[in-house]
């Protein structure tokens, strides 16, 4: 064999992709699944400790399942609840990938939703295929601008984004209160801060209303799917995504490689804000048809958990968002059927995150689910 041929052969071997290792599989799939199981088990213990009897605990978990996936209406509600969580979670995941711990999704949802609602009730007479995209874009753009304030502060002055986004969240609530009381925005005849209603042409239409008008799942879920695809593409297929990931993993190496740190920070924050803004738009155009104080409903904070649970991967975020949506929806059924407080769902969500963050604990509880631990040689 000639040297050239053997070289080609070597190159071919080098291009082979190793099968995903068992360790990766454990980390990405088994740990989250077990974390959910352990969290549910601990949730049952919490119920026991608060004097809930065993039959009720059994009934509440059956209700959790039925209420989240047990019927068409349950599925519709789960998707409706998951949509904004996934959108905002995608934004946060993008930020995490770029090394930015953006706590500001809540504020970005508020500002994005506010912009979307204003566009949504203005421009009467526009056809829906112009008006709806316009309102969505307005939401994304407003969220992006709001988030880039924190990005710019970080890039220009070094102000840490955790602090600045928390502050921007608080500011956004006040902006919302103020704007909702302006005469052109406040609903006629109301003294409290509440916006006019979104026009039909800007509403995200219900998808299954032809079966039953109570099925609330709306076209926002299509926006979500598109967003998952787009974010995946940006992160793993584009130059800017490469820059995000490089900056997030190793800022020194990114600078060495000639990536513009300031640009990356602002761009990552703006993209994250755009997605959170879309989440806000999704809520006002698809669910509420209006904006009022508190319409963000803590989604921006739940989305942090969603992004963490989804390991900052677009597909992971999708599944994590669906899980959290299901928990939220199933939690209602739990309260209705078993009288168990919906606060328990908050506890279970928190426990899932704790166990995800402590994989060693999960491994210790389910030793048979994992390969035997191996000490790696450290040379």
């Amino acid at each position: 064999m000639s040297a050239k041929a053997s070289n080609d052969n070597l190159t071919q071997n080098l291009l082979q992709r190793a099968a995903p290792s068992r360790a990766e599989f454990e980390d990405l799939v088994i740990v989250p699944i077990f974390a959910v199981i352990v969290a549910l088990a601990v949730g049952a213990l919490v119920m026991l400790a608060t004097a809930v009897d065993l039959p009720t605990i059994g009934r509440s978990y059956i209700a959790l399942l039925q209420g989240s996936v047990g019927s068409l209406n349950a599925l519709s509600e789960t998707l409706t609840a998951a949509a904004p969580l996934v959108l905002a979670g995608l934004g946060l995941a993008l930020g995490f990938r770029a090394g930015l711990f953006n706590i500001g999704a809540e504020g970005q949802i508020v500002i994005g939703g506010l912009a979307a609602v204003i566009v949504g009730f203005s421009f009467a007479g526009l056809p829906w295929f112009v008006h709806l995209p316009l309102a969505l874009i307005a939401g994304a753009l407003a969220g992006a601008l709001y988030a880039s304030i924190a990005g710019w502060l970080r890039a220009a002055t070094g102000a840490h984004e955790v602090i600045s986004t928390i502050m921007l969240n608080l500011i956004s609530y006040r902006i919302l209160d103020y704007v909702l009381r302006q005469p052109f925005i406040q609903r006629e005849g109301r003294a409290d801060p509440i916006s006019r209603s979104v026009l039909d042409s800007a509403e995200l239409p219900q998808l299954l209303a032809w079966i039953d008008p109570n099925l609330r799942v709306h076209a926002g879920i299509l926006v979500v799917i598109a967003a998952v695809v787009v974010v995946h593409w940006i992160l793993f297929r584009t130059k800017i995504g490469f820059e995000f990931r490089a900056s997030g993993k190793n800022l020194d190496a990114a600078r060495y490689a000639g990536m513009r740190a300031s640009f990356t920070i602002v761009a990552a924050m703006a993209s994250a804000g755009a997605l959170a803004g879309l989440a806000g738009a999704n809520q006002v155009l698809g669910v509420l048809d209006r904006a009022s104080p508190g319409f963000s409903a803590g989604i921006g904070f739940d989305a942090i958990s969603v992004a963490l649970l989804g390991r900052s991967h677009p597909v992971g975020v999708l599944f994590a968002g669906l899980l959290f949506g299901a928990l939220k929806t199933g939690g209602r059924q739990m309260q209705v059927d078993a009288g168990v407080s919906v606060d328990l769902i908050g506890i279970i969500q928190a426990l899932i995150i704790v166990f995800i963050a402590a994989p060693l604990l999960v491994r210790a509880i389910f030793p048979w689910g994992f390969r035997k631990p191996q000490t790696e040689p450290n040379e």
Binding site: T11, L15, A253, M259, P377
Partner: protein
């Protein structure tokens, strides 16, 4: 105290890190343990320190077999290790560090610092290890910090001292001093294990030598009769060439011109102080100096990672003082960074991604907004094959590669582009002999093809072996220049200049 290791075998899954290793450590002797990275030295020493339990074999102390169930047991048995990376608390004093974990206390947990001070002074007097017990670690030079590490071990009454690559951080002069300390410890009856991959040092300090390769003992030796050549063969498994073949010195046009460059550190101290230098095409300019004398800052300024406060940098006829890193890349500047782990690669990224780290945007890899990953992978595979990077696949994570192969990855990335000037900072730090040989060959090849090369290293041997001209930096200034293009430069003269005590030597 004598320690024997008999038939030690340690496996990690399918990997055998140590195979049936026998080792004799005797009181009053320095045992040199030689081996490339990955030869099993650290695993063996971790077995001796009680961090690992061997799968087979015994540890015998003074004729009695012992088992260690943890590092504590090994320390109690009198075995102490001085790690390559110091384990000191920077804001504590010498005395506080020395007693960390075994603090002498009086009533009510009252810390008896006076006793600690006294211990430090006693040990210092006995072994020639004088250190001010009240000095804070962060204020001490590296060589002195190392003494504190040794004192720490001695405070715990160790009779066997394991020194892991102790000279890596020292200047030639400090190495000499350090050898004095090692000898006095030996003469006081301590048993010393001296781990290194530097051949000259092991020949100088050891009483006996054991060489490891691939987890097995491949040779025992007497330093009086062994040569560096023979040792290297035992270590690498084939004959090794130390001298580098270079084409005759034939410098071309001026490529890089640095004028009065002043660079500040983060704390506004002056790092590089009005430095001027020139690099022509077809020559290797070496910057020698003990770490921390401004070389790093100078390199960072030239490569665009750090803004200088004063002076100009002219590259290929253009003023690039305030030009972005990417523009410098585009002009043909290649940069092998000082710290490959921190700057050179992203461990969580694949080999292919790392191969495209600073050129993902050029036409080889990118189309519009997207990166064409198949193209990245095929190019990466070519370069991997070309530069002999040992990796199972270009889709393997860079962190899974050994240090030498990570560095080859960086070199491959930088030299696979069309470059004019190569700036290499510590290009072979921590690498084994085989990798050093390879990288040196590549650097010289770049020079022979007409690239200018600016190389910065704290390893004087490396500078001497490669450079056509040598500049010595001390306290931010270039204090000496040597012409190495015609005849070899006097090693001592350069060493003295590095220590700041040389008159400005004429070229």
């Amino acid at each position: 105290m004598d320690v024997e290791l008999r038939g030690i075998t340690k496996r990690f899954g399918p990997i055998v890190a140590n195979a049936e290793i026998d080792l004799d450590i005797r009181a009053g002797e320095v045992l040199g343990l030689l081996g490339e990275n990955g030869a099993g030295k650290s695993t063996l020493m971790n077995v001796l320190c009680g961090l690992y339990t061997p799968d087979e074999g015994n540890i015998i102390i003074d004729g009695k077999p012992v088992t260690f169930d943890g590092p504590g047991a090994a320390i109690a048995a009198g075995i102490g290790m001085v790690h390559q990376h110091f384990m000191l608390v920077p804001v504590f004093t010498v005395a506080e560090n020395a007693i960390l974990g075994i603090e002498p206390t009086k009533q009510v947990d009252y810390l008896d610092l006076a006793a600690a001070r006294q211990q430090v002074n006693e040990i210092g007097d006995r072994y020639g290890l004088q250190v001010d017990p009240d000095a804070r670690i962060e204020d001490l030079p590296v060589g002195t910090q190392q003494r504190v590490e040794i004192i720490k071990v001695l405070v715990r009454s160790a009779d066997v001292l394991i020194l892991d690559e102790p000279t890596a951080v020292l200047t030639p002069q400090e190495v000499e001093e350090f050898f004095g300390i090692v000898r006095s410890l030996r003469d006081a009856g301590k048993a010393i294990v001296f781990i290194t991959h530097k051949l000259d040092e092991i020949l100088e300090i050891s009483d006996r030598i054991t060489v490891l390769r691939g987890g097995r003992v491949t040779g025992y030796g007497d330093p009086k009769t062994l040569t560096e050549q023979r040792l290297a063969e035992m270590m690498v498994g084939r004959p090794v060439r130390f001298d580098v073949d270079k084409a005759p010195y034939n410098p071309g046009d001026l490529l890089l011109e640095v004028r009065d460059l002043t660079v500040l550190r983060a704390n506004d101290e002056i790092a590089a102080d009005h430095v001027s230098l020139e690099v022509r095409s077809g020559e290797i300019v070496g910057i020698a100096g003990v770490q921390g004398n401004g070389q790093s800052a100078l390199i960072e300024a030239i490569t665009g990672l750090h803004r200088p406060v004063d002076g100009t940098i002219i590259f290929d006829g253009q003023d690039i003082t305030n030009v972005s890193v990417r523009a410098r890349h585009a002009m043909g500047m290649a940069h092998i960074p000082e710290d490959r782990q921190r700057t050179g690669i992203i461990g969580d990224f694949t080999v292919a991604e790392n191969m495209a780290l600073n050129s993902y945007y050029d036409e080889r890899y990118a189309k519009g907004m997207s990166i064409v990953w198949p193209a990245v992978a095929t190019h990466a595979a070519d370069y991997v094959a070309d530069f002999d990077v040992r990796t199972p696949s270009v889709h393997a994570k860079a962190s899974q590669l050994s240090g030498g192969n990570q560095q080859k990855l960086v070199v491959a990335r930088e030299l696979s582009r069309d470059t004019k000037l190569l700036i290499a900072a510590q290009p072979t730090r921590g690498l084994d002999v085989g990798s050093v040989e390879y990288i040196h060959g590549r650097v010289v090849a770049a020079r022979d093809e007409g690239d200018g090369v600016l190389i910065m290293s704290s390893e004087l041997d490396e500078i001497l072996a490669l450079s056509d001209r040598i500049l010595v930096m001390f306290k931010g200034r270039i204090v000496a220049e040597f012409d190495a293009s015609k005849q070899p430069v006097d090693r001592n003269a350069v060493g003295l200049a590095m220590a700041g005590s040389a008159p400005r030597a004429a070229a």
